[in-house]
């Protein structure tokens, strides 16, 4: 019995040690490497790389793209969650499956589909060219690709929560004469606000960090159609490693802020692991 227990303790200790080893070597070390590489020659060169006009332009573009894509997906996500959880209709499951579809589509394909629609040889390409409207290799293409990739985040965070909360509160409000907007703003929204915020945060993090999809539609015009992740790639391919890692470190900071904010939100709302 005694040796049993000792063996058991040994097994548990080694499991903890192994898990910590995986966490440090496999998960944390890459993050550390980004900051170490960025500061390899000290702080000034790193800051210089971030203050470079092309880098500033890429930061501005990234913020602009996210500022359009995130609200679009927030409105759509809330509408979809309301529709799916507050009503019964045939095809609800299919609707949810279609909403989650972009998660299982390669980022490159998420960019490719827009080129097939709006590229020079795309379905609407000639029509757009006649009217001198540019979508691919321009801001609208970047926005569309980002919207596609971040499409499921808000809906997916809200649907399980709203399903669990049921409809009785909203039905009571409606029976008492509240309008649809009143019901949503005063009854539903207070219950879902933390989850909504968490979904918006994840959506935003992905929107700002997306690489594959925007890389296909961007055209990589320096200072014009390069978002931050694309700027990182260009610098890296030009062997400007400190610059590449400096901008990458900025993106890594964004990821850390997102994780921190999400942890705070989870403590507020008591919900667990909605990251998927």
């Amino acid at each position: 019995m005694n040796t049993d227990r000792r063996e058991n303790l040994l097994a548990r200790r080694s499991a903890i040690l192994a898990a910590i080893l995986v966490g440090v070597l496999f998960l944390l070390l890459p993050l550390l490497a980004v900051f170490v590489e960025a500061l390899r020659r000290g702080l000034p060169p790193a800051l210089e790389a971030i203050a470079d006009p092309d880098a500033i332009a890429s930061i501005r573009l990234t913020l602009l793209v996210a500022a359009i894509a995130v609200p679009v997906n927030t409105i759509g996500g809330v509408a979809a969650a309301w529709c799916i959880t507050k009503f019964d209709f045939p095809g609800r499951g299919a609707m949810l499956a279609f909403i989650e579809l972009p998660f299982s589509v390669s980022p490159v394909i998420s960019g490719l589909v827009w080129v097939l629609l709006f590229g020079a040889q795309g379905w609407f390409g000639p029509w757009l060219q006649e009217r001198d409207i540019q979508i691919i290799f321009a801001l609208p293409g970047l926005v569309l690709a980002t919207v596609f990739v971040t499409f499921p985040f808000v809906a997916r965070t809200l649907v399980p929560l709203m399903q669990e909360q049921g409809r009785s509160a909203e039905e009571a409000a409606a029976t008492l004469g509240a309008s649809g907007w009143q019901t949503f703003l005063r009854v539903t929204l207070p219950d879902i606000r933390w989850a909504l915020l968490s979904g918006v945060l994840l959506c935003n993090a992905r929107a700002m960090g997306e690489f594959g999809a925007v890389s296909v539609v961007s055209g990589h015009i320096r200072g014009e159609t390069n978002t931050m992740p694309l700027h990182v790639e260009i610098l890296y391919n030009e062997y400007q490693f400190v610059g590449a890692f400096a901008v990458a470190a900025l993106l890594a900071l964004l990821a850390l802020v997102t994780l921190g904010a999400k942890a705070v939100l989870e403590r507020y709302s008591g919900m667990l692991g909605a990251m998927l």
Binding site: E7, A11, A15, I16, A19, I20, V22, G23, F26, L27, L29, P30, L31, A33, E37, I75, G76, A79, A80, W82, C83, K86, F87, M95, F98, I99, L101, P102, S104, V105, S106, P107, V108, I109, L112, V113, L116, L117, A120, Q121, W123, F151, E170, E171, F184, M208, F211, G212, V216, P229, L230, V232, Y236, F245, A248, A255, L259, G273, M275, L276
Partner: protein, 296 residues
């Protein structure tokens, strides 16, 4: 009795229509609950789904056939395409499979043990979700390059990771690991410890308890995590292209081939590879889902 009767009385029958405006509760002749907003939200969701997801995917599904059926198969049977598809799918399956024991270990320790640094480890698990893929790609390349922190000792052992298919596997494991951990964790948290104690009391060794009692209960969650990790890895691009080396026939993944064909303005060829990837991935996801249903 009274209480039960009165609740039955108060609870409104869901199917009953409100007297105010029969139109509100009706949509295509179907009756709904008393809540407003079905038309608006249903319409908005359909519009959003149609324009953002379905129309673009329809373009992908139709474009390759402008080559003709034979042309599509010729375009897909080029050795370089076949090699890229095989590399992407085999590596993604292997990476997801290797992630299963790692993810199980992390989930187990996070749920069952208390130790200093546990919260940090918990947060670290979400890192691959939150870190932009290009950043992950750069970081992994720096680490596993022949002169990197991990690459140098591995190279001394004669194992080159970066710029080989091994690097692709490492990147795929990095992006897939959280899916396994996060899908196993809740099931493990709810798993009754009594079951293990009973098994131990009945004379089962720790290994037998793990193999015969705990693992069967976790199988559906492990399979779900495996499925998500695979789906993520097979289409992954940003974290792979920096570390892969991208040599045709050796370390060139299928998504990169799509990018290369697009750069040559070969839209149909690019979408043929894209469609093949989607069809293959969905076939595997469907099979895994069926397996999951049987396991559950």
């Amino acid at each position: 009795m009274m209480a039960a009767a009165s609740t039955v009385f108060i609870a409104p029958p869901v199917e009953r229509e409100k007297p105010t405006g029969a139109a509100r509760g009706r949509w295509f002749g179907l009756r709904r609950g008393p809540l407003p907003g079905f038309g608006l939200t249903f319409g908005l969701t359909l519009l959003w789904l149609g324009l953002i997801v379905l129309l673009p995917l329809a373009a992908l599904a139709l474009r390759p056939w402008t080559l003709g059926i034979e042309g599509v198969f010729r375009s897909l049977s080029e050795p370089r395409v076949l090699a890229a598809l095989r590399l992407s799918f085999v590596s993604a399956l292997l990476a997801a499979a290797l992630n299963v024991p790692l993810g199980l270990l992390l989930a187990w320790v996070l749920v069952r043990e208390r130790f200093p640094g546990r919260r940090l480890l918990d947060a670290a698990v979400d890192l691959p979700f939150a870190l932009p893929t290009a950043v992950a790609g750069l970081a992994l390349t720096a680490l596993y390059a022949p002169n990197g922190w991990l690459g140098a000792p591995l190279a001394a052992l004669g194992w080159q990771v970066a710029y080989t298919p091994w690097g692709i596997g490492i990147a795929m494991m990095f992006v897939g690991l959280p899916f396994i951990v996060r899908s196993v964790e809740p099931v493990l948290r709810d798993f009754p410890r009594d079951a293990e104690e009973v098994a131990a009391t009945l004379g089962a060794t720790a290994a037998q308890t793990m193999w015969r009692v705990v693992l069967p209960a976790l199988r559906p969650a492990l399979l779900a995590g495996f499925t998500m990790a695979f789906a993520r890895a097979v289409g992954e691009y940003g974290s792979i292209i920096f570390i892969a080396g991208n040599r045709p026939m050796v370390s060139e993944i299928a998504p990169l081939l799509i990018v290369i064909r697009l750069e040559q303005f070969d839209y149909a060829g690019a979408s043929a590879v894209g469609l093949a990837m989607l069809v293959l991935a969905f076939a595997i996801l469907l099979a895994l889902n069926l397996l999951q249903r049987r396991a559950g």
